[in-house]
């Protein structure tokens, strides 16, 4: 909602374009110290009751679901899962793709929006990156245990083994091992490096003691000298440039698991972009699901403004529409190809016994975000939260539709099965939700949840030429339009 203030003064080099007023990213002109106080306060003050109300049940669910679920699985055998011959991927891979997709918004915000100079990312990138890390951790559980005998999971790594067999580098499943582990590692480096100056901020506020020592160790002795910032900014830029193709590659490689197989409904070239758009879509919904409540609980409204929420809602609308286009294009291509197996696969998805999953996917992912065309809906946090929850559910169903309904009806009618998840399947999935929330709550408790240094950097007076009217006449226009008028008059 930038609006034209007035034309910038004419200078010797010719007429300048009108200067647009920037929407403020930090409201109420908060000072540097206020920003430090407010964000560090989240870590330093006692946690609100809501934190405990979320943390304790999440931790219990995680312990029972993931801890107990995996113990039961390993001690009994993978037969406790509902996977059957044909629907061999079942819930575990549905959940894997769901969680890995959630992570993508974090990298999008931290890398792609950084490269495109979208300064509004600074208020939300830290939490979104944390979400990436935790989502990938949840995702990793499923394929690791889905291999069956988890103590042989090291066979995934290309190291010499007793059978003298090497991994098949032509297989998308091996590409996936490399893509997901690289994604996790690079995201962790990005997250940690981004946090170093803020950990130093917390360290400098601690009283001497164990806390100060621990924050001191993790902040690496950061001093904030420009000889450090100079290299640091370059490192950050490089990591953003590396993560951008990485994030696009990860979900593309995940989609290769499907697209390179010769299975009707999977063997399509649209899968990589469709999966990437879907991942960003689902990831942003999860960012909103978490940040909208956190913003209230910790009083961060001046830092995570309605502008941020508005932007995220627009990205959800955009990517949701891309996903909707992909769904329709899949149907069209199935029809246009004239291939009966392809057509039948989609008929089965829409009108087969799993029609409800397809309907849930379509209504949650394609229809629900359409309300974001209206500004009133983007500004109403209840609507935003409901849509975000719908998208979370819808994206899970998308993976269910792709995996389960396809595997349940493959080439041979004799193989046809209907799949239903076992109690252990459900327990483990709910457990990972608990694990994700537990880790996120711990993150809020111990680490700076907003990028303190970068948020300060978005303030107008953070620019060293902010008050340098001689050399930079267009600086500070947003708050001092009167000066501009004077200058224009003086010139004419």
């Amino acid at each position: 909602m930038a609006s034209t203030t007035q034309a910038a003064p004419e200078t010797r080099t010719g007429v300048k374009l009108p200067v647009l007023e920037r929407e403020k990213l930090i409201l109420n002109g908060r000072s540097y110290h206020w920003i430090t106080e407010r964000i560090c306060g989240v870590v330093e003050n006692k946690q609100p009751l809501l934190w405990w109300l979320l943390f304790i049940p999440s931790a219990i669910i995680a312990a029972i679901g993931v801890g107990g679920g995996l113990f039961h699985l390993v001690s009994t055998g993978v037969g406790v899962w509902g996977n059957t011959n044909r629907v061999m991927w079942g819930w575990p891979i549905v959940n894997f793709v769901f969680w890995i997709g959630i992570g993508h918004a974090g990298t999008l915000i931290s890398a792609i929006l950084f490269l495109t100079r979208q300064n509004w990312r600074t208020s939300i990138n830290r939490a979104a990156e944390a979400m990436t890390i935790f989502a990938v951790m949840c995702a990793g559980i499923f394929p690791a245990f889905h291999v069956g005998r988890v103590w042989f999971a090291w066979f995934l790594a290309p190291v010499p083994n007793a059978n003298a067999i090497w991994q098949n580098f032509k297989s998308p499943l091996l590409w996936d091992v490399f893509a997901v582990s690289t994604y996790f590692t690079v995201s962790l480096i990005f997250w940690f490096l981004g946090m170093v100056p803020d950990l130093a901020t917390i360290r400098d506020r601690c009283k001497p003691g164990l806390r100060k020592i621990l924050y001191g160790i993790f902040s690496l002795g950061w001093r904030g000298g420009n000889r450090q910032w100079s290299h640091y900014e370059m490192a950050y830029l490089l990591l953003a440039a590396l993560s951008t193709p990485l994030v696009l590659s990860v979900h593309s490689v995940v989609s290769f698991d499907f697209a390179t197989s010769v299975v009707p409904g999977w063997h399509t070239t649209i899968f990589p972009p469709y999966f990437v758009a879907g991942a960003i879509f689902g990831g942003f919904a999860m960012v909103l699901t978490i940040m909208v409540p956190a913003r209230f609980v910790y009083g961060l409204q001046d830092l995570i403004t309605m502008k941020h929420i508005d932007n995220m809602a627009k990205i959800i609308l955009l990517t949701g529409t891309i996903v909707g286009y992909a769904y329709l294009m899949e149907l069209f291509v199935a029809f246009y190809s004239g291939a009966i197996y392809e057509m039948d696969a989609f008929k089965f998805r829409i009108a087969g016994p799993y029609w409800w999953a397809y309907a849930a996917m379509m209504s949650c992912n394609v229809l629900s975000p359409q309300v974001f065309w209206f500004k009133a809906c983007r500004e109403n946090l209840w609507v935003v939260m409901i849509v975000a929850m719908c998208v979370n559910v819808g994206m899970w169903f998308e993976r269910f539709v792709i995996i389960v309904t396809t595997l349940a009806r493959m080439w041979l009618p004799g193989d046809w099965k209907t799949f239903s998840p076992s109690a252990q399947d459900q327990m483990l999935f709910v457990g990972t939700i608990g694990l994700f929330l537990t880790l996120f709550m711990l993150f809020l408790r111990f680490l700076p949840c907003i990028n303190i240094a970068e948020v300060k950097w978005t303030k107008l007076e953070a620019d060293p030429h902010f008050d340098d009217k001689e050399h930079h006449p267009d600086h500070g226009v947003a708050i001092e339009p009167a000066y501009q008028k004077e200058l224009a008059e003086a010139k004419s």
């Binding site: 480096i189 904030g224 910032w229 590396l242």
Partner: protein
């Protein structure tokens, strides 16, 4: 009775804003100092130029780190798939023309090695981690990570002089000028 000897680290002066720091940095650069630094809670745009710093050489490290990753992945894939254990899967040949199937892993390892090079290259360039630093003895320096803008000129700079440097810092707008000492 204290027997600790103290060694002078240098002068620390506070400046009131980013733009004051920027202007002061230009003057110290022009005065010919070499061992000094500006401290701020966030990276200040253009301060590298005002301090006379060159562009970071980190990208070069990362380029070679990334190339090592590409080469590692290719060697790993080629040697295992073509040389040691050739297998024909999905009718894909086991020779050099299999290379398109190796691209995803080559790409991922390029990124992975680059990522590690960024991390360790950065730590080498900024000489971290370290457990302590003389500046941490200052009573006001903790504000450099909050809302303070500082310049520190080290005593080991050849242009450093106990009186003239102090006067210079005062002249260019430095406040709370402090002599920072480290324990020997």
């Amino acid at each position: 009775m204290s027997t600790t000897r103290k060694r002078v680290y240098g002068y620390l002066a506070e400046f009131k804003s980013a733009s004051a720091l920027y202007k002061a940095a230009e003057k110290i650069r022009d005065a010919g100092f070499r061992k000094w630094d500006c401290y701020s809670p966030y990276p200040i745009h253009g301060l590298d130029g005002a301090m006379g710093l060159k562009r970071s050489i980190l990208p070069w490290f990362v380029f070679f780190g990334g190339m090592t990753g590409t080469a590692t992945a290719f060697t790993l894939a080629y040697s295992t798939q073509v040389v040691i254990y050739p297998t024909v899967v999905q009718a894909k040949p086991a020779n050099i023309f299999t290379i398109p199937a190796f691209f995803p892993v080559m790409f991922e390892l390029t990124i992975l090695f680059s990522g590690f090079t960024v991390l360790f290259g950065l730590l080498a360039l900024i000489q971290l981690p370290r457990l302590n630093h003389p500046l941490f003895a200052s009573k006001q320096f903790h504000r450099a990570t909050d809302d303070g803008f500082f310049i520190a000129i080290e005593a080991r700079d050849s242009k450093f002089s106990p009186n003239a440097t102090r006067e210079l810092l005062a002249e260019i707008g430095g406040a709370n000028i402090e002599l920072v000492e480290e324990e020997d």
